[in-house]
Amino acid sequence: MSAAAPIRALRRPSGGVAGLWLALVALAAVAAPLLTPYAYDVQALREAYQAPSAAHWLGTDEFGRDLLTRLIYGARTSLSVSATAIAISVACGMVLGAAAAWFGGWFDRAVTVVVDLTWSFPEILIALILVAIIGPGTTGTMIAISVAYLAQFTRLTRAQIMTLKGETFIEAARSLGAGNAHILLRHLLPNALAPVLVSAMLATGDAIILEATLGFFGLGAQPPTPSWGGMMSAGSALVFKAPWIIIFPGLTVAITVIAINLYGDALIAALDIRAKLRRAA
């Protein structure tokens, strides 16, 4: 059932368009060197500040670098950092949440208190503090983002497992002689997975914004490595002189995040788990 759900989500009009965009961005990120004749880090100061043209579709930046090229390479940074961060966050969150729900007692209370505490701070604040501690750069950003979203997945997994624990099929498995490992791995986690994955999908959209924000503050990927946030930061000073430098990365971030949310919504509809998510929230 869940194997087919991502496909079913694509059949919805909004899910299909969103999926197409995401596939396009992902493909461009992977195949970047094949798609563009320019290098992302070679400066050509004579060609700086060119408006969009046939040679430079999206124009060039203050160092004369092709903006489209940097955008495509930037997708590599932004997408891989956000996606990896969320993947780490989901993995850790599921283990923590499942353990808390399963073992209960003081461990559960401790996890819940920490989760509730982190939950009450905005993600950006947590991420900023962490980057300040770890130091700027892709690794720092990745860790910061994954910690910032950890509470969300821990909480969701815990809620899912708590509900599932009361289901009769868990008791039925026990009556057959099933141990903890069997019940966790064969019943609880598989059933908790779908809502967590959808929530991860939506969080990836937020993570892209968070990554761009950190990049904008100069805390993300360091020059000359392009990132969408870094590009916007550079463009912000030149917004009147060469508006395309900030507009195109901004648009890319916006469209990508909207696409992720649209696809996520389509996925929720395809999985029919809206009620489950609401219960957990």
């Binding site: 059932m1 099929f169 498995a173 009556s175 057959l176 002689g177």
Partner: protein, 314 residues
Amino acid sequence: MTEPLILIEALSKRFQSGGGLFARPRAMMAVRDVSLSVGRGEVVGVVGESGCGKSTLARLVLRLIEPTAGTVRFDGTDLTGLPPAALRRMRRRMAMVFQDPYSSLDPRYTLTDVLSEPYRVQGEPLPTGRVAEMLGAVGLPEAMATSHPHQLSGGQRQRVGIARALALAPDFVVLDEPTASLDVSIQAQIIALLSDLRDRLGLTYLFISHDLGLVRYFCNRIVVMYLGAVVEVLPAATATPRHPYTQALIASGFVPDPAARRAIVPVAGEVPSPFNLPPGCAFAGRCPRATDQCRTTRPALSDEAHPVACFHPI
């Protein structure tokens, strides 16, 4: 006389609920000092209304929950003291069919997954053709093996639940209201199936139900529970009740015969809260025969051929 298959002695379960920062926890005895035996091949019914402790008893017997006191012996082995590994091996010999056929099957599992789970859990290879054989035994087509529970009707799901319980050929099956959420037409099908399976496989059943009519049809011996305690054991399905509560239960059932219409004399009052039981007989507040003795002293289950816990049995 050989030892019965199941021997329950002085079994009790105390639940604590609530409690926290502001509330004092409240305790209740869900099952109070229940002793009971089930002979090989017998079908023993446990009947009572909601909150009487019958479902808790079912779970205690299979040690799905831990008793507060008392023992359960299964074929001579004390289940209550069994270490986990030995208990798991013992679970091959006893199984349970659950009330709610909707939540008792994992929605992600196919019927093949459901029916091979007992083997996987016990670390045994699944014999080829066993799934089809099990489906056939409960009257389901082999083609359903790849279906998911949501594609099945309530009756069909309950058949799957029965097949799962019988997968490893147990001796003893606890049936916890297996038909309570089904239509009467389907209930009768399931009862007929359980009856056939018992004859064919020589099973022993503990049948939990709120429906005295159904229990009287299906069981050899009937245990009547009220608020956690056994109030009467009917030695045969046709035995005349001696406890006023059992009589009230029978009087509350309606027979499908307008000619047998009678004035309804409902039992007065409400079931008292299990958290705040009266000191004497739990039924005294609703009983037409109650005296002062009933309100102050709790009657014990008598040691007779037809045991009853009542100072003024009928």
